[in-house]
């Protein structure tokens, strides 16, 4: 394994120091945040405990398929989910990862020989080995992120068709481009989604939410109409499975206009809406997400989020930020303090309008333009999670629809548990 930033331990505060520095932040959440940031690798003993017939290995994602050489996720003892970060010896990483080991009959998270916590592999979904009536393997239709069923309806993002337009931290572009060149189908069939969802729900007590997203589709009569139709085709089909208003779902689209948002609500039965602005500063956004900046713009994106609050309601609209990218060189913020101040200022501005900011911990991807960048310190992510959660609370915004079970990805919504 190649570690790009091998001397990081001498330059950053250790997790143990941060446990002491933030006594009001649970160690589970600090550890989960660092697992997302640094990643984790399985020891040989841990690999022996992983059984792909029982545990969740392979999965389908926007950025491609994973196989049984990595695990999809972990649970910590308090129910905290670790959604990202499993790496192998073949990967290139920024910092050396944690080691998940098997010691004294327990799966444990270790670093430099010290045991930090117990862990548990996620479980393989019951539907995984089944096929739709069209013969599609169901594991390629929906992925189970813990308790959430994820549908990635189209794996190609058209912002990458704009010269220099792809988001610099994002791995969807390279994957989608290669798949498209090979003539592979990058769309998921709505009927396959319907059948897989129906099959998945036979596993009683497992799933709490359905989430749909896709790569951006810019075409149509109006900008994004093509993307809208892909969502509507799936949602109008799956909502027939549930009682009126019974579809527990979120949707994560490119920022749509009022007419499109109303159609998602009225025809699709969508009640919670997300559109990821990714970077919480206009100037950095324009550098890091040039396609989004050119087509919709930072202010345009924010306006569409505020419009979404009018359509779906206060607290029913969120936006993800890939935190840390705003510190990338050479055009990012120069210090973590400067970035945190700007991020929290913008988080508050969005909260005033009823929009929730969700914090995504950036792990630098090898197949991205930012592959040589370095993610920030653990201290940075703790301060951001704490700050975002405090702002959300002060504006009376709940995080239940993206909480520790329904999403499991964001440290700030883990903090909202108490």
């Amino acid at each position: 394994m190649e570690v790009r930033y091998s001397d990081w331990r001498s330059k950053e505060e250790s997790i143990d120091k941060l446990f002491e520095k933030y006594p009001d932040i649970p160690r589970f959440v600090i550890l989960k945040t660092d697992l997302h940031r640094r990643g984790y690798i399985l020891s040989e003993r841990a690999k022996e405990q992983f059984n792909p017939e029982i545990h969740h290995g392979k999965g389908i994602h926007l950025s491609g398929e994973t196989d049984d050489t990595t695990v999809e996720g972990l649970y910590l003892r308090d129910g905290t989910a670790v959604c990202n970060g499993c790496v192998t010896e073949d990967d290139v990483v920024v910092r050396d990862p944690y080691i998940v080991d098997y010691i004294d009959g327990k799966l444990v998270i270790t670093d430099q020989g010290r045991i930090y916590e117990e862990a548990e592999f996620w479980y393989k979904p019951d539907y995984y080995d089944k096929f739709t009536s069209k013969g599609t393997p169901m594991w390629k239709v929906l992925n189970a992120r813990g308790h959430r069923l994820d549908a990635d309806l189209n794996q190609y993002c058209e912002f990458w068709d704009i010269p220099g337009g792809g988001c610099k931290y994002c791995g969807i572009g390279v994957y989608g481009m290669n798949e498209k060149k090979c003539g592979h189908n990058l769309r998921v069939d709505p009927e396959d989604v319907y059948e897989t969802l129906r099959e998945a729900l036979k596993q009683r007590g497992r799933y709490l939410q359905f989430r749909a997203t896709q790569g951006s589709l810019l075409g149509g009569k109006e900008l994004l109409d093509e993307e809208l139709e892909v969502y509507l085709a799936t949602f109008s089909r799956i909502k027939t499975l549930f009682k009126e208003n019974g579809l527990k779902a979120t949707i994560n689209t490119t920022a749509m206009n009022v007419r499109q948002l109303e159609r998602l609500r009225d025809e699709g039965g969508v009640t919670y809406y997300t559109s990821d602005i990714e970077v919480l500063d206009k100037e950095k956004f324009e550098w890091i997400c040039p396609g989004k900046a050119k087509v919709i713009g930072y202010d345009g994106w924010k306006k569409r989020l505020y419009d979404a609050v009018d359509v779906f309601g206060k607290g029913h609209v969120s936006t993800d930020a890939v935190l840390g990218t705003e510190l990338a060189t050479p055009k990012g913020f120069r210090t973590e303090d400067e970035a945190i101040a700007a991020n929290l200022r913008e988080t508050e501005e969005l909260a005033k309008h009823g929009v929730i900011v969700l914090d995504f911990v950036w792990r630098v991807g090898e197949n991205t333009i930012f592959k040589n960048q370095k993610s920030p310190s653990l201290d940075y992510y703790i301060r951001m999670a704490k700050g975002i959660n405090e702002i959300r609370e002060s504006y009376g915004l709940s995080a239940y629809f993206a909480d520790y079970q329904r999403s499991g990805n964001q440290p700030s919504t883990d903090l909202a548990r108490i």
């Binding site: 649970y75 548990e120 813990g146 308790h147 009683r204 108490i418």
Partner: protein, 162 residues
Amino acid sequence: MSVKITDKQKAVIEGRKSYKSVATISRDGELQLTTYRYTGVDENGNLLIYQLIETTRTNKNLTYALWFEKDVLISFSDGEGTEFTVKGVPVRNIVAGPFFEKKYRELNDEDFENDLVSIYVIEPSGIIENNYEVLRQRERNEWGILGHMDRDLVSKEDLKDA
């Protein structure tokens, strides 16, 4: 585990008609007392609390207790004289897996309105006997100095007006 739940106590803990109350504190130090419908005991002798509602203050407080190693109290009564309180710290919150799904199905089959958010595992550190008769006898046996004098007269005739 230093404290063992007896078979008799286990029957009360798992009894559908038993009274079960969970006492917790919030992150701000506020006290909370809530009645629960379903509790149990696992194979290791830990107490289980079946959490049916996500949004309650007690759910938040149980997570707070797990995160910061705070005690919680769970009181039981079978309504027929067996009363006790289990003290302990939540050590695990089960949100998924075969055991979770088995319990979900059992509770859901019993009452379709039952959902299951999670199962808190409480490691008991003490069991306090609350039964009135037991407490009264214990005090009289150990602390003869306590209580009103008129209760210990040789003859109740002495209590009557002259």
